[in-house]
Amino acid sequence: MNKQCEILIIDDEQVVVDSVIKIGEISGYKVDYTMDAKTALEKISGQNYQLIICDIMLPEMDGFQFISEMQSRRNNTPIVITTGYSTMENAVKSLQLGAIDFIPKPFTFDEMTSIMKRGVKYKKLVDADTEKTGSLFYVQCPPRYFCLGYSCWLNTDYDGTVLIGATDLFLKTIENMKTIELMERDEAINQALTAAKIICEDESVHQLYSAISGRIIDRNEKLLNDISLLEKDPYFNGWLYRIIPGEYDYEIKLLASCSSNGCR
């Protein structure tokens, strides 16, 4: 496997660091680690990591401050936030600040592997895009759509219901999709919590978040039969659920609008 890929894990808990290193090793990634964000910033300036996995509660500088610091340094290395205090608020805040993913502790081997895969792929896509266009990278979603992080979108319908789905960028980070697991009608979904699971040919499972909380009133049954629809037309025919939002006014503020400067 590709041994050039390098991942940095920032966590003050040795067992977590060990676990991530172990998962990285087996998945073919070389993993570096630090126990605090300050040291991480030093390390980053010397090396070109493909992905950074960062805890929230860290000594001196926490995970959120770390994301902001990275942005102010114009470093585009994707960051995944992980935490033992895995509330919805923390997940939303991480994605809103610019983390590409949020993985609550404890995670399974597979959960972490899929996160790593997507993260590394994301970095490649971003790098390729930046090389090609020379401009700032962002998600190309239709106007009036909103995004949470880079992975999921929502579009408010005229009747107040909301369609949600996955962005093309998210789908590009996943290779060889095989099936999708959707939730049932009438189930409740929460913002920044798992809304669907995409299973790939290599049995890896990728979780997609919901951009907003609410109750599912309809789901796109076609996707269950033909997952390629998702890739072909992610923003229209590839929608996932139609939901009645629970706290639309509050949650919409946490999302990025596609019409302004795109979802990043």
């Binding site: 808990e13 998962i23 033992g84 205090y85 509330t87 502790k105 597979d110 049932e184």
Partner: protein, 627 residues
């Protein structure tokens, strides 16, 4: 603050009141006594005066004949005889020139009196002597010297008359108007003694009454003012020290009693508020604890989960190992969900529903408490319906419910063992008696749900009721089809009842509808997004209609009953057991268990009911909808 007993004796309100009332009494009794004594004295003196006048007149009349005949010895004799009376000080007759002609004191006879002498002064005060003297001016009170007793002198002028100038002796000329004066002096010693006696008596009476007054007032002030005030002060001090259980016993019926009662009410409210504060404090602490626990436990769990899930992947060729590892992974995932649940508890998250087999979940819960069952010598009887369909529910949350209820049953069974029966069954029920009205509003969108008064552990529906001039509140049973209503006023079932929104007073009676059973008025309450609930407003019968729910027809439920034969729950606690932080386990419980149970079942649109009999045991019945 000063202690009650540190307040100076002279500053106490009781003493002040007693003194004020006593002073008033002193003034009133003093003035009364003064005038009483004065009038008694006046009456006595008037009596003496009258007596003296009579005496003087008698002397004059009895000596008249002697005077006409000029029988001086005879007159002397009469005057002397009269003068012997001890009450009479002296009797004198003076002629016009002021010469004493007759006197009981013989040495005075022949003396000339100066016109300024007190016996002459009445007539001779002015230069021209009076010829007529009014009766009231004839008397005078005087002392011979400052130490002697008082005397009353009465002057009786002897007027000239025809018989005088025609008398044989012919002593007086016809032109003289006044021939002389009869002067009688009476000793007032007896009268004065009498007056002094009266004064002493009056004074004694005044002192006794004032003292009695003071004592009686003091007693009642102490009883009616001092004691309740002392009790109030004691109670406020107790409350200041943090004892919110201190209530004023028998506050009484007067204003201070009312004050005491409102003090008691205030303390009850204060206790409630403090209780709530403590609760939210508990909640906040719990949140912090949950966050801390989540963070601390999730890190080691990460190690367990990643390594075990990795090993599980590697053990594909070894089914036995794979099975064992599967247990580790599954249980670690469950721990993850438990910790998540701990975090979610403070945040009231929605359940993660999957299709679950209730029997299997109960078995899992039993497996967790197996040791405790053995330890408690408890015989667990399963009465499972093996054909039970799966339901949509959060497996972990439902397991937590069973775990909680089984643990409670074990606790209730005590140390001598017991029997816990867990039964499951599929039941079909009409929505009546099951469906819980959680939200309802008046036409102006005011919520009618009242969280303070609970019926069967659920928040009631509060309406304003007016009937027969009475006005109050009625609390409707929030379970559709149940009629455990509570009337806050004396209510007689009648068709003229008014039911209004407690906030805006808008009528909730549907004028176009009549109860199909009794023909009486019908109330109509809006259930947001779910139509209207209607019911008989005169409460003569139990008619209720909710088209939205009735239309759905009968529904299937999985019923789970967990029964123990333990100590039971006292009736007064039955309504409180699902409230957060209600605990009878003291330090051993957080009081959260059953409230969490209630919350979970509620989140699953299910119901939980409890029936209990002291000494005979408790049965919890849970109904979870199939879909």
């Amino acid at each position: 603050m000063k202690g009650f007993n540190e307040i100076g004796f002279y500053r106490r309100i009781g003493l002040k009141l007693t003194i004020a009332v006593s002073i008033t009494a002193i003034i009133i009794i003093g003035v009364y006594s003064y005038f009483n004594i004065k009038s008694q004295r006046d009456v006595m003196l008037a009596e003496v005066e009258r007596h003296a006048n009579q005496l003087s007149e008698t002397v004059k009349n009895s000596t008249r004949y002697g005077m006409l005949l000029n029988q001086r010895d005879h007159i002397h004799e009469i005057i002397n005889t009269i003068g012997k009376d001890p009450a009479i000080y002296d009797v004198r007759v003076l002629n016009k020139e002021g010469e004493i002609i007759y006197s009981t004191k013989e040495d005075e006879i022949g003396n000339m009196l100066d016109k300024k002498a007190e016996s002459c002064y009445a007539c001779h005060a002015e230069n021209k002597p009076l010829e007529k003297l009014p009766i009231k001016d004839r008397t005078r009170i005087y002392r011979l010297n400052p130490d002697s007793t008082r005397l009353m002198g009465i002057i009786n002028p002897i007027y000239n008359e025809k018989s005088c100038w025609e008398a044989e002796c012919h002593a007086h000329p016809q032109y003289a108007a006044v021939l002389g004066v009869l002067d009688v002096s009476i000793s007032l010693a007896d009268v004065d003694k009498q007056i002094t006696n009266n004064q002493i008596q009056e004074l004694l009476f005044a002192i006794i009454s004032i003292t009695a007054f003071g004592i009686i007032i003091g007693y009642f002030v102490k009883r009616w003012v001092d004691k309740p005030v002392r009790e109030l002060v004691k109670a406020t001090n107790e409350v200041a020290l943090g004892n919110l259980n201190y209530l004023i016993k028998e506050p009484g019926t007067d204003e201070l009693g009312y004050l005491g009662e409102s003090f008691n009410n205030m303390i009850k409210k204060l206790e409630d508020t403090q209780h709530q504060l403590v609760q939210s404090d508990k909640m906040a602490s719990l949140g912090r604890l949950a966050a801390g626990v989540a963070h601390e436990i999730n890190n080691p769990l990460t190690g367990v989960l990643t390594y075990s899930s990795y090993l599980l992947k590697r053990a594909k060729e070894n089914p036995q190992l794979q099975e064992d590892l599967n247990v580790i992974v599954r249980e670690t995932m469950r721990s993850r969900e438990i910790v998540k649940g701990l975090l979610d508890f403070a945040r009231q998250s929605t359940p993660k529903k999957t299709m679950i087999d209730v029997n299997e979940i109960i078995n899992r819960a039993i497996a967790v408490v197996n040791n405790q069952l053995k330890f408690g010598k408890i015989n667990l009887v399963k009465k499972f319906d093996t054909n039970l369909p799966k339901i949509t529910a959060d497996a972990n949350q439902i397991q937590q419910v069973f775990l909680n209820l089984i643990l409670n049953a074990i606790d209730a069974s005590g140390t001598n063992g017991g029997v816990i029966t867990i039964g499951t069954s599929l039941i079909t029920l009409s929505p009546k008696g099951i469906k819980h009205i959680k939200k309802c509003v008046c036409p102006k969108n005011h919520s009618l749900i009242n969280n303070e008064y609970k019926i069967g552990g659920n928040s009631s529906i509060r309406l304003k009721i007016k009937s027969n001039g009475n006005q109050g509140f009625v609390h409707l049973d929030p379970i559709y089809g149940n009629h455990r209503h509570f009337f806050g006023i004396a209510f007689e079932k009648n068709p003229n009842v008014m039911l209004n929104c407690p906030v805006c007073d808008l009528s909730l009676i549907d004028k176009n509808a009549k109860c199909p059973e009794c023909g009486g008025p019908v109330y109509k309450i809006q259930i947001p997004n779910q139509g209207f609930v209607e019911g008989c407003a005169s409460f003569k019968d139990n008619w209720q209609k909710w088209e939205f729910v009735d239309g759905g027809g009968e529904k299937k439920y999985v019923e789970i009953q967990i029964a123990d034969n333990g100590c039971g729950i006292p009736p007064e606690n039955l309504n409180k057991i699902f409230e957060p932080f209600f605990s009878t386990k003291g330090q051993r419980g957080t009081g959260l268990g059953l409230s969490v149970v209630w919350g979970i079942i509620d989140n699953h649109n299910g119901t939980i009911n409890v029936q209990s009999e002291i000494g005979n045991g408790t049965t919890f019945s849970i109904k979870l909808p199939l879909a």
